[in-house]
Amino acid sequence: MRSFGFVLSILAVMGLAFWAYSENYKTQKALKDLSKLQHEIAALRDARAVLRAEWAYLNRPDRLRDLIGLNWQSLELVPLTPQQFGRVEQIAYPKPTLVEPVDVVGLQPEELLP
């Protein structure tokens, strides 16, 4: 009985050792993945910062003003003026959709139901 207990505990120790060993490697792999992901995030953020800076640079008011001047023929953009404000009343009311009239004279009530 006692020897059986010894064998059992030795097996348990071996099993636990194997488990700890594999967990250790799993943790190391997760950490490696994490740092790789973080480098990727950092690179993407860097790229985004560059793109944002470029977007802001390309949309700077000076450049847009020049582009409007260059493309006057096709765009005909002018600065916003007070006259361009509209009122809700100036917008036409949407037309009601008309339904074809149906002759209902002489029909039975159940025939009126769809």
Partner: protein
Amino acid sequence: MSRVPLRPLARILEARRKGENPDAIERENIRLRHEEMRDRARQRAEGRLLVMGIFFFCAFTVVGARMGLLAASVPEEPRTSGIGSDITAQRADIVDRNGKILATNLRTHSLYAQPPLMVDPKGAAAALAAIFPDLKEAELLPLFTGKRKFVWIKKVLSPEQQQMVHDIGEPGLLFGPREMRLYPNGALASHILGGYGFGREGVYAAEVIGTAGVEKAFDTFLRDPAENGRPLELSLDLTIQAAVEEILFGGMKIMNAKGAAAVMMDAYTGEIIAMASLPDFDPNDRPVPLTEGDQSDSPLFNRAVQGVYELGSTFKIFAAAQAMELGLVNANTMVDADAPMKWGKHSIKEFRNHNYGPYLSVTDVIVKSSNVGTAKMALQIGQKRQKEFLAALGFFEPTPVELFEAPYAKPLLPRHWSDIHTITASYGHGLSASPLHLAAAYATITNGGTKVAPTLLKREYRIPGARVVSRDVSAATRAMLRAVVTRGTASFGDVPGYAVAGKTGTADKPRPRGGYYDDKVIATFASVFPAHDPKYVLIVTLDEPVETSGTKPRRTAGWTAVPVAAEIVRRTAPLLGLRPEIEPGTERLVSTR
């Protein structure tokens, strides 16, 4: 365990036989027994002490070992925590009120040389001089061939330049990573943003520090890692700022002015929507400060904040507002305006020696811009109360705006405030303040009468300031200012639909050696719009303007600053979302006490 009997029969009998006291034997045995018990107890206690000692020794060994281990181990960043600190940018962005970028960072490289590693110093110097026009071959060559082991060549490179330097193929030319500041809008809002420079520099990194403007004022915030890259939100509106700068530049050219400044401010919160000063500069390539001559001629000089000028007749409304607030007059009271007015050895005259007198209503004093009428009101108010009022409007202190330069722009005040200073200060002479001071004061008296402190930070809500004038006085003030535009000196300032109200001011420029120039003026238009429901305050100041369309050159603000301001209102009011409105009758606004 066998116990020794206290009275062993054999020894007792023997003692009795010898005639000794048998009790002595019992006492002897009791003593022996006690000694034995004491020895046992001591042994046990010693054992316990030993165990305790071992325990403490182990505990201290563990603590000591851990400390030694911590001290000896290489520091390592916690990899499992969410977002590493190396990911966030070194310096936070600056954005406008709508989130458009005003300043951001860009990762580039710096260029340095290690002459001992160089293969062909002569060729490298020639190639570098060909790539960078500002580098001279003759200056580089001694650096490369001398004894130096390390030479900085360029602090920042563009990617194209880096590639060209790389293509030289010289192993002694090396690149270090650098984070640089980029202002994508160029010269726009340059005086507000300021500029950047490098602090402590190493090969692999350099500190980016602000050198002026908000970059310097908020340096700690922008660099604080705890903020985690949260951008600095300014109250500026990029679109409005661009429109204001464009119109101001055009106006400055048409009016032949040497400089110009404009401030547009929210009349309630004090948020600066746009602030321009011309000439300006590109903060990406900030010019060096002037080493000689007048600093105010440098493009770095912010005329709207640092420039303190005598702002002339724009101050008259403060005397009128205070006289009404004190109950001395109302908008229709007739005041003595008989020019010229004698005060001691001084004589107070009107513009071009007019005489608007003998009597003018307070409204007409403002509309016609009568120096004498204003002076009479100021004398009624008295020196002490006038100073208190101007101090309440903020004219005695630098503006609290969040710019590095602001605390150094102190208003210039008369050293001894005598009655003649009370008179001249009432029409804006002898007292110098910046256009930003004027904007805050106009916002204060026209917004209903509560104090406004100018700010460059976006405000989510309004915190009403201390009351300076009553609501009625504020409304009467606006009606007077509106009358200046409808039938007074600022008739060019009328913009249909936006009910501009304002006051012109033309002040002769002081000579550096005392006295005033005859042909150099500072023309200012201080306005608020719409008059019936004030939303924004706009100050336009032109430095030495001349309008030459007539037979004689015209320099007054009504001909120079006012049309520029009107154009700014016409262009920016729709952008600010103000719908043109038909203003209510002005009579209702004038309160009669």
